[in-house]
Protein backbone atom coordinates (compact mmCIF):
# COMPACT_ATOMS: atom_id res chain seq x y z
CA UNK A 1 0.00 0.00 0.00
CA UNK A 2 1.46 3.34 -0.91
CA UNK A 3 0.43 6.71 0.39
CA UNK A 4 -1.16 8.75 -2.33
CA UNK A 5 -1.47 12.45 -2.08
CA UNK A 6 2.10 12.89 -1.03
CA UNK A 7 3.47 16.09 -2.49
CA UNK A 8 5.87 15.61 -5.35
CA UNK A 9 9.55 15.86 -5.04
CA UNK A 10 10.18 19.62 -5.04
CA UNK A 11 12.95 19.28 -7.62
CA UNK A 12 10.62 17.70 -10.11
CA UNK A 13 8.22 20.58 -9.97
CA UNK A 14 10.89 23.25 -10.09
CA UNK A 15 10.04 24.30 -13.63
CA UNK A 16 7.01 26.19 -12.53
CA UNK A 17 5.57 28.70 -15.03
CA UNK A 18 7.01 31.99 -13.88
CA UNK A 19 4.41 34.09 -15.65
CA UNK A 20 1.58 32.67 -13.62
CA UNK A 21 3.34 33.52 -10.40
CA UNK A 22 4.13 36.98 -11.58
CA UNK A 23 0.58 37.72 -12.56
CA UNK A 24 -0.73 36.34 -9.31
CA UNK A 25 1.64 38.39 -7.29
CA UNK A 26 0.50 41.48 -9.01
CA UNK A 27 -3.09 41.02 -8.21
CA UNK A 28 -2.39 41.95 -4.65
CA UNK A 29 0.29 44.48 -5.43
CA UNK A 30 -1.97 46.53 -7.64
CA UNK A 31 -5.20 46.14 -5.70
CA UNK A 32 -5.91 49.85 -5.59
CA UNK A 33 -5.70 50.49 -9.32
CA UNK A 34 -7.65 47.45 -10.35
CA UNK A 35 -10.75 47.44 -8.13
CA UNK A 36 -11.16 43.79 -7.19
CA UNK A 37 -13.59 42.14 -4.90
CA UNK A 38 -11.84 43.27 -1.79
CA UNK A 39 -10.64 46.73 -2.63
CA UNK A 40 -14.23 47.86 -3.15
CA UNK A 41 -14.75 47.72 0.59
CA UNK A 42 -12.10 50.22 1.36
CA UNK A 43 -9.42 51.99 -0.62
CA UNK A 44 -6.72 51.95 2.06
CA UNK A 45 -5.81 48.40 3.02
CA UNK A 46 -5.82 47.79 6.74
CA UNK A 47 -2.57 45.88 6.39
CA UNK A 48 -0.04 46.08 3.62
CA UNK A 49 3.46 44.81 2.94
CA UNK A 50 5.60 46.45 0.29
CA UNK A 51 8.66 44.61 -1.00
CA UNK A 52 9.13 43.23 2.49
CA UNK A 53 12.39 41.33 2.97
CA UNK A 54 13.73 39.66 6.08
CA UNK A 55 16.93 37.82 6.82
CA UNK A 56 17.96 36.02 9.98
CA UNK A 57 21.57 36.80 10.90
CA UNK A 58 22.70 33.18 10.83
CA UNK A 59 21.14 32.27 7.49
CA UNK A 60 22.36 32.78 3.98
CA UNK A 61 19.11 33.43 2.14
CA UNK A 62 16.23 35.74 2.85
CA UNK A 63 13.52 34.36 5.11
CA UNK A 64 11.09 36.71 3.39
CA UNK A 65 11.74 37.83 -0.14
CA UNK A 66 9.97 40.88 -1.56
CA UNK A 67 6.57 40.17 -0.12
CA UNK A 68 3.81 42.38 -1.50
CA UNK A 69 0.38 41.93 -0.09
CA UNK A 70 -2.72 43.83 0.90
CA UNK A 71 -5.40 42.87 3.36
CA UNK A 72 -8.63 44.85 3.45
CA UNK A 73 -10.93 45.50 6.34
CA UNK A 74 -13.24 42.64 7.16
CA UNK A 75 -11.48 40.09 4.99
CA UNK A 76 -10.69 36.53 5.97
CA UNK A 77 -7.36 35.57 4.50
CA UNK A 78 -5.48 32.30 4.82
CA UNK A 79 -1.71 32.14 4.47
CA UNK A 80 -0.90 28.67 3.22
CA UNK A 81 2.58 27.28 3.36
CA UNK A 82 4.65 24.34 4.53
CA UNK A 83 6.60 24.53 7.79
CA UNK A 84 9.48 26.92 7.32
CA UNK A 85 7.86 28.75 4.41
CA UNK A 86 8.05 32.01 6.34
CA UNK A 87 4.53 32.30 7.74
CA UNK A 88 5.59 33.03 11.32
CA UNK A 89 8.32 35.42 10.20
CA UNK A 90 5.80 37.32 8.09
CA UNK A 91 3.43 37.60 11.03
CA UNK A 92 6.13 38.99 13.31
CA UNK A 93 6.62 41.82 10.86
CA UNK A 94 2.97 42.77 10.83
CA UNK A 95 3.08 44.43 14.23
CA UNK A 96 6.68 45.47 14.34
CA UNK A 97 8.18 42.62 16.38
CA UNK A 98 10.76 42.14 13.64
CA UNK A 99 12.28 44.97 11.66
CA UNK A 100 12.43 44.56 7.87
CA UNK A 101 15.78 44.16 6.11
CA UNK A 102 14.18 46.24 3.35
CA UNK A 103 10.68 47.17 2.30
CA UNK A 104 7.96 48.20 4.70
CA UNK A 105 4.78 47.26 6.47
CA UNK A 106 1.85 49.67 6.49
CA UNK A 107 -0.97 49.53 9.00
CA UNK A 108 -4.00 51.52 7.83
CA UNK A 109 -1.73 53.24 5.32
CA UNK A 110 0.87 54.26 7.88
CA UNK A 111 4.34 52.81 7.99
CA UNK A 112 5.14 50.87 11.15
CA UNK A 113 7.91 52.73 12.94
CA UNK A 114 9.41 52.65 16.40
CA UNK A 115 7.14 55.56 17.28
CA UNK A 116 3.78 54.11 16.39
CA UNK A 117 4.56 50.50 17.17
CA UNK A 118 2.41 50.47 20.31
CA UNK A 119 -0.61 51.69 18.35
CA UNK A 120 0.07 49.09 15.67
CA UNK A 121 0.11 46.35 18.29
CA UNK A 122 -3.23 47.56 19.59
CA UNK A 123 -4.61 47.43 16.04
CA UNK A 124 -3.10 44.08 15.13
CA UNK A 125 -3.24 41.23 17.60
CA UNK A 126 -1.33 38.01 17.13
CA UNK A 127 -2.37 34.62 18.49
CA UNK A 128 0.70 32.40 18.49
CA UNK A 129 0.75 28.75 17.65
CA UNK A 130 1.57 27.32 21.05
CA UNK A 131 -0.76 28.76 23.68
CA UNK A 132 1.80 27.79 26.34
CA UNK A 133 4.05 30.58 25.05
CA UNK A 134 1.28 33.09 25.47
CA UNK A 135 -0.87 32.04 28.41
CA UNK A 136 1.43 32.43 31.40
CA UNK A 137 -0.68 33.72 34.27
CA UNK A 138 -1.89 31.28 36.90
CA UNK A 139 -5.54 32.04 36.25
CA UNK A 140 -7.59 32.55 33.09
CA UNK A 141 -8.85 36.01 34.02
CA UNK A 142 -5.42 37.30 34.97
CA UNK A 143 -4.12 36.19 31.63
CA UNK A 144 -6.87 37.83 29.63
CA UNK A 145 -6.37 41.05 31.59
CA UNK A 146 -2.68 41.10 30.66
CA UNK A 147 -3.07 43.00 27.39
CA UNK A 148 -5.69 45.53 28.56
CA UNK A 149 -3.65 46.37 31.68
CA UNK A 150 -0.53 46.94 29.57
CA UNK A 151 -2.61 49.29 27.43
CA UNK A 152 -3.03 51.38 30.58
CA UNK A 153 -6.81 50.95 30.77
CA UNK A 154 -8.59 51.63 34.06
CA UNK A 155 -9.47 48.67 36.25
CA UNK A 156 -13.23 48.83 35.55
CA UNK A 157 -12.68 48.84 31.79
CA UNK A 158 -10.30 45.89 32.09
CA UNK A 159 -12.94 43.95 33.97
CA UNK A 160 -15.56 44.65 31.31
CA UNK A 161 -13.21 43.53 28.58
CA UNK A 162 -12.21 40.32 30.35
CA UNK A 163 -15.87 39.46 30.82
CA UNK A 164 -16.71 40.19 27.20
CA UNK A 165 -13.77 38.26 25.82
CA UNK A 166 -14.62 35.23 27.94
CA UNK A 167 -18.21 35.37 26.74
CA UNK A 168 -17.11 35.62 23.14
CA UNK A 169 -14.93 32.51 23.34
CA UNK A 170 -17.52 30.67 25.42
CA UNK A 171 -15.41 30.24 28.54
CA UNK A 172 -17.54 32.19 31.01
CA UNK A 173 -17.15 30.48 34.36
CA UNK A 174 -13.51 29.65 33.73
CA UNK A 175 -12.20 32.92 35.26
CA UNK A 176 -10.48 31.31 38.22
CA UNK A 177 -9.25 28.22 36.50
CA UNK A 178 -5.54 27.57 36.06
CA UNK A 179 -4.76 27.53 32.33
CA UNK A 180 -2.30 24.73 33.04
CA UNK A 181 -5.18 22.34 33.68
CA UNK A 182 -7.19 23.24 30.59
CA UNK A 183 -7.29 21.13 27.46
CA UNK A 184 -5.30 22.20 24.41
CA UNK A 185 -8.41 23.53 22.73
CA UNK A 186 -9.46 25.52 25.78
CA UNK A 187 -5.98 26.98 26.19
CA UNK A 188 -6.18 28.11 22.59
CA UNK A 189 -9.47 29.84 23.34
CA UNK A 190 -7.90 31.61 26.32
CA UNK A 191 -5.07 32.79 24.08
CA UNK A 192 -7.59 34.17 21.61
CA UNK A 193 -9.57 35.83 24.41
CA UNK A 194 -6.38 37.49 25.61
CA UNK A 195 -6.04 39.15 22.22
CA UNK A 196 -9.76 39.87 21.84
CA UNK A 197 -9.73 41.80 25.11
CA UNK A 198 -7.38 44.30 23.50
CA UNK A 199 -10.08 44.93 20.85
CA UNK A 200 -7.79 44.79 17.84
CA UNK A 201 -9.07 45.46 14.33
CA UNK A 202 -7.03 42.64 12.84
CA UNK A 203 -6.32 39.29 14.44
CA UNK A 204 -3.50 37.21 13.07
CA UNK A 205 -3.56 33.52 14.02
CA UNK A 206 -0.57 31.25 13.57
CA UNK A 207 -1.73 27.68 12.89
CA UNK A 208 -4.81 27.98 15.09
CA UNK A 209 -5.88 24.36 14.65
CA UNK A 210 -2.48 22.68 14.91
CA UNK A 211 -2.55 19.75 17.31
CA UNK A 212 -6.25 20.06 18.03
CA UNK A 213 -8.64 17.18 17.54
CA UNK A 214 -11.61 17.55 15.16
CA UNK A 215 -14.02 18.82 17.82
CA UNK A 216 -11.69 21.49 19.30
CA UNK A 217 -10.54 22.43 15.86
CA UNK A 218 -14.13 23.01 14.72
CA UNK A 219 -14.80 25.11 17.84
CA UNK A 220 -11.82 27.34 17.20
CA UNK A 221 -12.81 27.81 13.57
CA UNK A 222 -16.39 28.61 14.55
CA UNK A 223 -15.11 31.23 16.96
CA UNK A 224 -12.90 32.74 14.29
CA UNK A 225 -15.85 33.03 11.90
CA UNK A 226 -17.94 34.57 14.67
CA UNK A 227 -15.30 37.21 15.43
CA UNK A 228 -15.31 38.15 11.77
CA UNK A 229 -19.10 38.16 11.46
CA UNK A 230 -20.10 39.80 14.72
CA UNK A 231 -17.16 42.06 15.52
CA UNK A 232 -16.06 42.78 11.97
CA UNK A 233 -12.50 41.73 12.81
CA UNK A 234 -10.20 41.25 9.85
CA UNK A 235 -8.57 37.85 9.98
CA UNK A 236 -5.28 36.54 8.77
CA UNK A 237 -4.64 32.92 9.53
CA UNK A 238 -1.70 30.70 8.70
CA UNK A 239 -2.09 27.00 8.21
CA UNK A 240 -0.73 24.02 6.38
CA UNK A 241 -4.01 22.19 6.71
CA UNK A 242 -5.40 22.63 3.21
CA UNK A 243 -8.66 20.87 4.08
CA UNK A 244 -9.65 23.60 6.50
CA UNK A 245 -9.02 26.53 4.16
CA UNK A 246 -12.11 26.27 1.92
CA UNK A 247 -14.38 26.46 4.96
CA UNK A 248 -12.75 29.57 6.27
CA UNK A 249 -10.98 31.79 3.78
CA UNK A 250 -12.19 34.28 1.20
CA UNK A 251 -8.68 34.76 -0.05
CA UNK A 252 -5.54 32.65 0.08
CA UNK A 253 -1.88 33.60 -0.03
CA UNK A 254 0.52 30.79 -0.85
CA UNK A 255 3.93 31.24 0.72
CA UNK A 256 6.94 29.15 -0.23
CA UNK A 257 10.60 29.66 0.70
CA UNK A 258 9.80 33.20 1.79
CA UNK A 259 8.09 34.20 -1.45
CA UNK A 260 4.45 34.92 -2.06
CA UNK A 261 3.75 32.42 -4.79
CA UNK A 262 0.08 33.10 -5.28
CA UNK A 263 -2.83 35.22 -4.11
CA UNK A 264 -6.38 34.32 -5.05
CA UNK A 265 -9.70 32.84 -3.99
CA UNK A 266 -9.63 29.29 -2.61
CA UNK A 267 -11.27 28.11 -5.84
CA UNK A 268 -8.50 29.67 -7.91
CA UNK A 269 -5.72 28.37 -5.71
CA UNK A 270 -7.02 24.85 -5.45
CA UNK A 271 -7.65 24.55 -9.16
CA UNK A 272 -3.88 24.56 -9.56
CA UNK A 273 -2.51 21.32 -8.11
CA UNK A 274 0.97 22.01 -9.48
CA UNK A 275 1.24 25.28 -7.58
CA UNK A 276 0.35 23.54 -4.34
CA UNK A 277 2.76 20.68 -4.88
CA UNK A 278 5.53 23.10 -5.65
CA UNK A 279 4.82 24.78 -2.30
CA UNK A 280 5.07 21.36 -0.56
CA UNK A 281 1.34 21.35 0.03
CA UNK A 282 -1.38 19.19 -1.42
CA UNK A 283 -4.93 19.40 -2.68
CA UNK A 284 -7.78 19.13 -0.22
CA UNK A 285 -8.87 15.49 0.02
CA UNK A 286 -12.11 16.23 -1.76
CA UNK A 287 -10.42 18.06 -4.61
CA UNK A 288 -8.10 15.12 -5.08
CA UNK A 289 -11.02 12.89 -6.06
CA UNK A 290 -12.02 15.42 -8.69
CA UNK A 291 -8.49 15.65 -10.02
CA UNK A 292 -8.56 11.87 -10.44
CA UNK A 293 -11.90 12.05 -12.19
CA UNK A 294 -10.47 14.63 -14.55
CA UNK A 295 -7.59 12.29 -15.27
CA UNK A 296 -10.16 9.65 -16.16
CA UNK A 297 -11.37 12.09 -18.78
CA UNK A 298 -14.52 13.14 -16.96
CA UNK A 299 -15.71 16.69 -17.52
CA UNK A 300 -15.82 17.86 -13.91
CA UNK A 301 -14.59 21.00 -12.18
CA UNK A 302 -12.38 20.61 -9.13
CA UNK A 303 -14.48 21.17 -6.03
CA UNK A 304 -13.11 21.81 -2.60
CA UNK A 305 -15.97 21.60 -0.12
CA UNK A 306 -18.17 18.62 0.57
CA UNK A 307 -21.37 20.46 -0.40
CA UNK A 308 -20.08 21.65 -3.74
CA UNK A 309 -18.60 18.22 -4.39
CA UNK A 310 -22.02 16.65 -3.85
CA UNK A 311 -23.64 19.16 -6.20
CA UNK A 312 -21.00 18.63 -8.86
CA UNK A 313 -21.37 14.87 -8.70
CA UNK A 314 -25.16 15.18 -8.92
CA UNK A 315 -24.72 17.50 -11.91
CA UNK A 316 -22.44 15.03 -13.71
CA UNK A 317 -24.77 12.15 -13.04
CA UNK A 318 -27.55 14.30 -14.47
CA UNK A 319 -31.18 14.42 -13.39
CA UNK A 320 -32.07 11.50 -15.66
CA UNK A 321 -29.40 9.18 -14.45
CA UNK A 322 -29.87 10.18 -10.89
CA UNK A 323 -33.07 8.15 -10.83
CA UNK A 324 -31.22 5.13 -12.13
CA UNK A 325 -28.83 5.41 -9.23
CA UNK A 326 -31.60 5.72 -6.65
CA UNK A 327 -32.23 3.02 -4.17
Amino acid sequence: MSIPNSPHNPDEAAIFPKETTGRRNHRSGSGSEKPGNSSERNIVPILEAKDLCHRYPHLESNALDKINLKVFKGERVAVLGANGAGKSTLFKHLNGILRPLSGEVLVKGEKVTKKNVRVCRETIGIVFQDPDDQVLAPSVEEDIAFGPINMGLPRSEVEVRVKEALEMVGLTGFEERAPHHLSGGQKKLVAIAGILAMRPEVIVLDEPTAGLDPLSSARVLELIMKMNRELGITLLLSTHDVDVVPYFAERVFVLHHGRLEADGTPEEIFSDPELLRKAHLRLPRVAEVFEMLQQEGLDVNIQITAEKARDEILRVIGPGNQKAGMK
Partner: protein, 221 residues
Amino acid sequence: MHIPDSFIPLDHAIIYWVLALPFIIMSVKWAKNELDEMKVPILAALAAGIFAIQAMNIPIGMGTSGHMVGAALVAIVFGSPWAGVLVLTLVLLVQGFAFADGGITTMGANILNMGVVSGFVGYYTYSILRRGLSANIAAFAGAWLGLFISAITCTIQLWLAGTFPLVSGLIAMGTFHLIIGFIGEGLITSVAITAIAKSRPDLLEDDLNTRTERAETEAMA
Protein backbone atom coordinates in the same frame (compact mmCIF):
# COMPACT_ATOMS: atom_id res chain seq x y z
CA MET B 1 28.17 37.97 41.89
CA HIS B 2 30.05 35.75 39.44
CA ILE B 3 33.70 35.98 40.54
CA PRO B 4 35.88 36.00 37.42
CA ASP B 5 39.21 34.27 37.00
CA SER B 6 42.26 35.96 38.53
CA PHE B 7 40.25 37.75 41.22
CA ILE B 8 41.14 34.99 43.62
CA PRO B 9 44.68 33.62 43.73
CA LEU B 10 45.12 30.05 42.56
CA ASP B 11 45.71 28.54 46.00
CA HIS B 12 42.48 30.05 47.36
CA ALA B 13 40.62 28.97 44.25
CA ILE B 14 41.77 25.39 44.73
CA ILE B 15 40.59 25.41 48.34
CA TYR B 16 37.12 26.56 47.24
CA TRP B 17 37.06 23.85 44.59
CA VAL B 18 37.99 21.28 47.22
CA LEU B 19 35.20 22.59 49.44
CA ALA B 20 32.67 22.63 46.61
CA LEU B 21 33.41 19.21 45.14
CA PRO B 22 31.92 17.11 47.96
CA PHE B 23 28.74 19.16 47.66
CA ILE B 24 28.59 18.54 43.91
CA ILE B 25 29.22 14.82 44.35
CA MET B 26 26.64 14.61 47.14
CA SER B 27 24.09 16.39 44.99
CA VAL B 28 24.57 13.96 42.08
CA LYS B 29 24.28 11.07 44.54
CA TRP B 30 21.14 12.63 45.94
CA ALA B 31 19.62 12.92 42.48
CA LYS B 32 20.42 9.36 41.57
CA ASN B 33 19.86 7.43 44.78
CA GLU B 34 18.11 9.35 47.48
CA LEU B 35 14.66 9.26 45.93
CA ASP B 36 14.54 7.85 42.42
CA GLU B 37 16.32 8.20 39.12
CA MET B 38 13.45 10.31 37.83
CA LYS B 39 15.25 13.28 39.36
CA VAL B 40 18.12 13.07 36.89
CA PRO B 41 16.28 14.12 33.70
CA ILE B 42 14.10 16.57 35.62
CA LEU B 43 17.11 18.34 37.09
CA ALA B 44 18.80 18.48 33.70
CA ALA B 45 15.75 20.03 32.04
CA LEU B 46 15.26 22.33 34.99
CA ALA B 47 18.85 23.52 34.75
CA ALA B 48 18.11 24.49 31.15
CA GLY B 49 14.96 26.24 32.32
CA ILE B 50 16.82 28.11 35.10
CA PHE B 51 19.35 29.21 32.52
CA ALA B 52 16.51 30.81 30.53
CA ILE B 53 14.97 32.21 33.73
CA GLN B 54 18.26 33.89 34.62
CA ALA B 55 18.14 35.66 31.26
CA MET B 56 14.89 37.42 32.17
CA ASN B 57 15.37 41.03 33.13
CA ILE B 58 13.78 42.16 36.35
CA PRO B 59 13.43 45.94 36.80
CA ILE B 60 14.98 46.93 40.12
CA GLY B 61 14.39 50.64 39.71
CA MET B 62 16.15 53.72 38.42
CA GLY B 63 16.86 52.08 35.10
CA THR B 64 18.78 49.12 36.48
CA SER B 65 17.62 45.59 36.05
CA GLY B 66 18.75 42.45 37.73
CA HIS B 67 18.06 38.80 37.35
CA MET B 68 17.23 35.84 39.45
CA VAL B 69 19.62 33.17 40.74
CA GLY B 70 16.96 30.58 41.53
CA ALA B 71 18.83 28.22 43.86
CA ALA B 72 16.32 28.76 46.66
CA LEU B 73 13.37 28.29 44.30
CA VAL B 74 14.73 24.97 43.09
CA ALA B 75 15.59 23.82 46.61
CA ILE B 76 12.13 24.73 47.91
CA VAL B 77 10.29 22.94 45.10
CA PHE B 78 12.37 19.79 45.48
CA GLY B 79 12.31 20.00 49.24
CA SER B 80 16.07 19.63 49.35
CA PRO B 81 19.00 22.04 49.15
CA TRP B 82 20.89 19.42 47.10
CA ALA B 83 18.64 20.18 44.15
CA GLY B 84 19.69 23.82 44.31
CA VAL B 85 23.35 22.84 44.46
CA LEU B 86 23.10 20.52 41.47
CA VAL B 87 21.04 22.83 39.25
CA LEU B 88 23.24 25.84 39.98
CA THR B 89 26.38 23.79 39.37
CA LEU B 90 25.10 22.87 35.92
CA VAL B 91 24.04 26.43 35.16
CA LEU B 92 27.36 27.89 36.35
CA LEU B 93 29.31 25.37 34.31
CA VAL B 94 27.53 26.42 31.14
CA GLN B 95 27.77 30.11 32.01
CA GLY B 96 31.45 29.77 32.76
CA PHE B 97 32.43 27.72 29.74
CA ALA B 98 30.06 29.17 27.16
CA PHE B 99 29.66 32.79 28.18
CA ALA B 100 32.85 33.43 30.18
CA ASP B 101 30.43 34.58 32.86
CA GLY B 102 32.27 33.77 36.07
CA GLY B 103 35.62 32.07 35.91
CA ILE B 104 36.94 28.53 35.65
CA THR B 105 39.41 28.59 38.53
CA THR B 106 36.88 30.54 40.58
CA MET B 107 33.97 28.27 39.67
CA GLY B 108 34.41 26.35 42.91
CA ALA B 109 33.90 29.59 44.82
CA ASN B 110 30.92 30.55 42.67
CA ILE B 111 29.28 27.16 43.16
CA LEU B 112 29.83 27.51 46.90
CA ASN B 113 28.25 30.97 46.97
CA MET B 114 25.36 30.67 44.58
CA GLY B 115 24.61 26.98 44.78
CA VAL B 116 25.55 25.83 48.27
CA VAL B 117 25.13 28.95 50.42
CA SER B 118 22.05 30.36 48.75
CA GLY B 119 20.52 26.89 48.33
CA PHE B 120 21.08 25.81 51.94
CA VAL B 121 20.35 29.16 53.58
CA GLY B 122 17.34 29.65 51.31
CA TYR B 123 15.92 26.21 51.88
CA TYR B 124 16.42 26.01 55.64
CA THR B 125 15.15 29.54 56.23
CA TYR B 126 12.10 28.58 54.22
CA SER B 127 11.49 25.32 56.01
CA ILE B 128 11.87 26.88 59.48
CA LEU B 129 9.59 29.82 58.67
CA ARG B 130 7.13 27.52 56.89
CA ARG B 131 6.13 26.08 60.29
CA GLY B 132 4.45 29.32 61.24
CA LEU B 133 4.06 31.33 58.06
CA SER B 134 2.48 30.93 54.68
CA ALA B 135 4.52 29.41 51.87
CA ASN B 136 4.90 32.62 49.90
CA ILE B 137 6.23 34.66 52.84
CA ALA B 138 8.59 31.88 53.87
CA ALA B 139 9.79 31.59 50.27
CA PHE B 140 10.30 35.33 50.08
CA ALA B 141 12.40 35.40 53.23
CA GLY B 142 14.34 32.27 52.29
CA ALA B 143 15.27 33.44 48.81
CA TRP B 144 16.16 36.92 50.02
CA LEU B 145 18.30 35.77 52.89
CA GLY B 146 19.95 33.11 50.75
CA LEU B 147 21.01 35.68 48.21
CA PHE B 148 22.12 38.17 50.83
CA ILE B 149 24.29 35.69 52.70
CA SER B 150 25.85 34.44 49.51
CA ALA B 151 26.76 38.04 48.55
CA ILE B 152 28.39 38.40 51.96
CA THR B 153 30.33 35.15 51.46
CA CYS B 154 31.46 36.42 48.09
CA THR B 155 32.70 39.66 49.64
CA ILE B 156 34.63 37.78 52.30
CA GLN B 157 36.26 35.58 49.69
CA LEU B 158 37.35 38.66 47.73
CA TRP B 159 38.64 40.23 50.92
CA LEU B 160 40.65 37.12 51.76
CA ALA B 161 42.02 37.25 48.23
CA GLY B 162 43.18 40.78 48.82
CA THR B 163 41.07 42.17 46.01
CA PHE B 164 38.52 43.87 48.25
CA PRO B 165 38.69 45.84 51.49
CA LEU B 166 36.44 44.14 54.04
CA VAL B 167 34.33 46.93 55.52
CA SER B 168 33.59 49.04 52.50
CA GLY B 169 33.19 45.86 50.42
CA LEU B 170 30.62 44.51 52.85
CA ILE B 171 28.75 47.78 52.86
CA ALA B 172 28.72 48.07 49.06
CA MET B 173 27.95 44.44 48.18
CA GLY B 174 25.63 44.08 51.16
CA THR B 175 23.36 47.02 50.42
CA PHE B 176 23.36 46.30 46.71
CA HIS B 177 22.23 42.71 47.18
CA LEU B 178 19.86 43.66 49.95
CA ILE B 179 17.96 45.73 47.41
CA ILE B 180 18.40 43.43 44.40
CA GLY B 181 17.65 40.40 46.51
CA PHE B 182 14.46 41.94 47.87
CA ILE B 183 12.92 42.34 44.45
CA GLY B 184 14.82 40.05 42.11
CA GLU B 185 15.06 37.04 44.36
CA GLY B 186 12.61 37.43 47.21
CA LEU B 187 9.54 38.85 45.50
CA ILE B 188 9.92 36.84 42.32
CA THR B 189 10.46 33.56 44.19
CA SER B 190 7.40 34.26 46.28
CA VAL B 191 5.23 35.00 43.22
CA ALA B 192 6.62 31.94 41.45
CA ILE B 193 5.92 29.67 44.43
CA THR B 194 2.31 30.92 44.56
CA ALA B 195 1.90 30.37 40.83
CA ILE B 196 3.46 26.90 40.95
CA ALA B 197 1.15 26.03 43.84
CA LYS B 198 -1.75 26.76 41.52
CA SER B 199 -0.58 24.93 38.41
CA ARG B 200 1.30 22.04 40.01
CA PRO B 201 0.29 21.81 43.66
CA ASP B 202 1.77 18.33 43.86
CA LEU B 203 5.28 19.77 43.42
CA LEU B 204 4.98 21.61 46.71
CA GLU B 205 3.56 18.81 48.80
CA ASP B 206 5.30 19.00 52.13
CA ASP B 207 5.73 15.34 52.51
CA LEU B 208 8.24 14.22 49.95
CA ASN B 209 7.55 10.57 50.64
CA THR B 210 3.99 10.72 49.36
CA ARG B 211 5.38 12.11 46.14
CA THR B 212 7.84 9.28 45.82
CA GLU B 213 5.23 6.66 46.60
CA ARG B 214 3.02 8.04 43.89
CA ALA B 215 5.82 8.00 41.40
CA GLU B 216 6.51 4.39 42.30
CA THR B 217 2.95 3.22 41.84
CA GLU B 218 2.88 4.90 38.46
CA ALA B 219 6.14 3.66 37.08
CA MET B 220 7.49 0.16 37.04
CA ALA B 221 11.00 1.40 36.73
